[in-house]
């Protein structure tokens, strides 16, 4: 970086710092933005969050790299890093983060036409409309190329029939970006990328009850749904290419989760006890906790390292590797947490269990999805083997 550029960076840092100081509501300090992202009611109920979101939106800093005409701030990568650093430093978070900003937005910027961008990007940047992702189908979990949902060209519109599954938040979403089959004679080459208004007649979203009790995921049924021709992104049958790019954004965002490591040791001392040498009083559990925690620490260093390398032009070819390390480490950690709680970690509800115990149990059950969604553990290993390591077949 030249000195002049560094100076610019310094100036921008001062500006960000001052703005945050003036605008970030202190009541939100240290809260994870995910809380509001995944719970529309919590978001609506918190006036400080509403205020914070509005201020960030006006500044364009929820989607800082987007052009200003789409609701962004047209910042460069270096400035975005400064912004993120400064937010982290004071315990602030991006209140605009959503499926729309993380996945659809970048995709539309790359493949959408100007009209689509103007119609859809500003409401995403303003967090006014919620999007869901209609990719998976009952018969095609990790194998997207087999999808069956049909979109037939009816001249002035597409007629969509079929079923999606594992659609996050579909019951609360305004729009859906979906993969549909527009040519049955080809596999990957017969798929298109369509934007569907969830209020269209014939669309129905039914929540799925997961083993954790969560109803965040839905089945979505399309029965003779009419979709305007303009809602096709890119070319007909170009959907596979677009989806692959979009899934890259998804994988990036999944592996980017940078939660701080909270040591499980104090909890174990409390629940399991301490031996005469000051150790957690269950050697086998302790040994597994230690190994998991060491891997976790090395994993966090890996995320930081990849981040540094990416800033310096490194490749992101190891995203699948990172995701599998992450899911394995976090799933193990969730298991350990429940094991530390012992009998108290096995409750579903009710006064016999403390609230944080019940939360740990649900989180453990939910964690089983980490190695399934966003490309299963097995698919990620296939990708690492073939794409990163160059193994044949």
């Amino acid at each position: 970086m030249t000195d002049a550029k560094a100076m610019e960076g310094q100036d921008f840092r001062q500006e960000v710092r001052a703005w945050l100081k003036a605008n970030f509501p202190p009541s939100l300090t240290g809260i994870s933005g995910l809380v509001f992202q995944s719970d529309v009611h919590a978001a609506a109920a918190n006036s400080d969050f509403q205020l914070w979101r509005q201020r960030v939106q006006e500044k364009g800093w929820g989607v800082p790299t987007w052009p200003t005409r789409f609701g962004g701030a047209d910042l460069g990568e270096a400035q975005v890093r400064v912004l993120a650093d400064e937010m982290t430093a004071i315990g602030a978070f991006n209140p605009i983060r959503s499926f729309g900003t993380m996945m659809l937005g970048p995709t539309l910027l790359e493949f959408g036409n100007e009209a689509q961008k103007l119609e859809h990007l500003p409401p995403i940047a303003g967090h006014e409309l919620r999007w869901c992702q209609g990719f998976s189908e009952p018969g095609a979990g990790s194998d997207l190329a087999s999808l069956q949902t049909r979109a037939v060209d009816m001249g002035d519109h597409w007629l969509v029939n079929g079923q999606k599954i594992w659609t996050s938040g579909a019951d609360q979403a305004d729009w859906c970006f979906a993969l549909v089959r527009t040519d049955t004679s080809r596999k990957q080459g017969g798929i298109s990328f369509l934007l569907i208004d969830m209020k269209s007649p014939g669309v129905e979203a039914r929540p799925i009850i997961l083993i954790s009790g969560s109803t965040h995921f839905c089945e979505v049924f399309f029965n003779d749904v009419k979709v305007p021709k303009d809602n096709l992104v890119g070319e007909v049958n170009q959907g596979w290419t677009i989806a692959k790019r979009l899934l890259q954004h998804e994988r990036n965002s999944l592996s980017e989760v940078k939660a701080e490591i909270t040591s499980l040791a104090p909890l174990a001392h409390r629940h399991v006890g301490t031996d005469a040498l000051g150790r957690i009083d269950c050697p086998d559990l302790r040994a597994r906790m230690v190994r998991n925690a060491m891997r976790h620490e090395a994993y966090m260093a890996t995320v930081r390292r990849f981040g540094e390398e990416a800033k310096n032009g490194g490749s992101d070819s190891a995203v699948s590797t990172l995701k599998n390390l992450w899911s394995e480490i976090i799933q193990q950690r969730s298991e350990l947490l429940v094991e530390i709680l012992g009998g108290n970690g096995l409750g579903w509800a009710g006064s016999a269990y403390a609230a944080d115990e019940l939360e740990a149990t649900r989180a453990w059950l939910h964690s089983k999805a980490f190695s399934i969604y966003g490309g299963s553990y097995e698919v990620q290993n296939n990708i690492t083997a073939k794409r990163t390591l160059g193994l044949p077949g």
Partner: protein
Amino acid sequence: MAVLNDEQAMLKDMAAEWVRDRMPVTALRALYDHGGGGRSDSLGHDPAAWAEMAEMGWSGILVPQEYGGSDFGYLGMGLVLEELGRNLAASPLLSSALVAATALRLGGTSDQKARWFPAIADGSAIGTLAMEETSHHALEKTALAATASAGGWVLSGTKRAVQDGMIADFAILSARTSGAPGEREGLTLFLIETGADGLTREAMDQIDARRPAIYTLSDAAVGADAVLGEVGKGADLLDAIVDRANVGLAAEMLGNAAQAFETTLDYLKTRVQFDAIIGSFQALQHRAAQMFGELQLTRSAVEMALTAIDEGDADIPALSSLAKATAGETLHLISSQMVQLHGGIGMTHEHDAGLYLKRARVAEQCFGSTAWHRERWARLRGY
């Protein structure tokens, strides 16, 4: 499978058939509410099914013949528990017909035996063990106080996670008659009826839809004849009971794991992705082969321990911990892989995988976790 005699083989076949016909996994599902918790009105088991089990004589397998049982032995009991485990059948068989019956066999007075053995055998009474006070198995941490009184003892304190606690008619309960929490000395076992004055119970809504209970005792009085074994020396007796409880539970876990594996294997043989049956993918084949190997180790450890109990082997403590820990590790692996290999559908409450996963963790933890039993085995074997 262990080599069975004709009667054992017949018992096993009968149990397998009954479980298949009468206790599919949907029977367990009836104990769950729509959202995945236990139904608010649930007893944690199906009384009608329990009556049939008693009718078939399973509740009397460990009751001596003079008290109306068949004295058929722990291997026989293990065979039934394994079959029940296959379909996650919820019943008080383990709590009452194995654990409570074992307590009476090992420590009951003749009056206690005469009063309770026949009722255990015909299923008219359900017994259980009320032992844990903290989140982890640790009998020495017992704080529930038993104070000598004119006519016997007065009990005060709390027990958690009493298995089948809401339906039990009586409990074998550990209490401290001397010493302080942390000491093995000073424990005494009592037989207390759950209807006793001063005993209240609260159901726990557990992930596996069973209904363990919290027992709160406030100056609950029992007679001097309520004691099992020797006053103040209850720890060894309790260990002996828990050893047998663990082997029975391990047999059930073996059944859980075997069925979870077979269900998953069937799925691998039918599910198509990437234009192939997923069971043709080598990585999944090798994982299946590995799980099959773990199942072999588990069956051997469980059957060895069951046989050791029937033969009065001196090595029962270590073999019990070996069985429980091996079953725990295997079931942990297989229940997790059952979810993983079923993919998204395995994550739904609608699918059975989650039910196996939830029951697995409860069983792994009950009567001492896998880690606890590894440590116990290690101490017994001099590590």
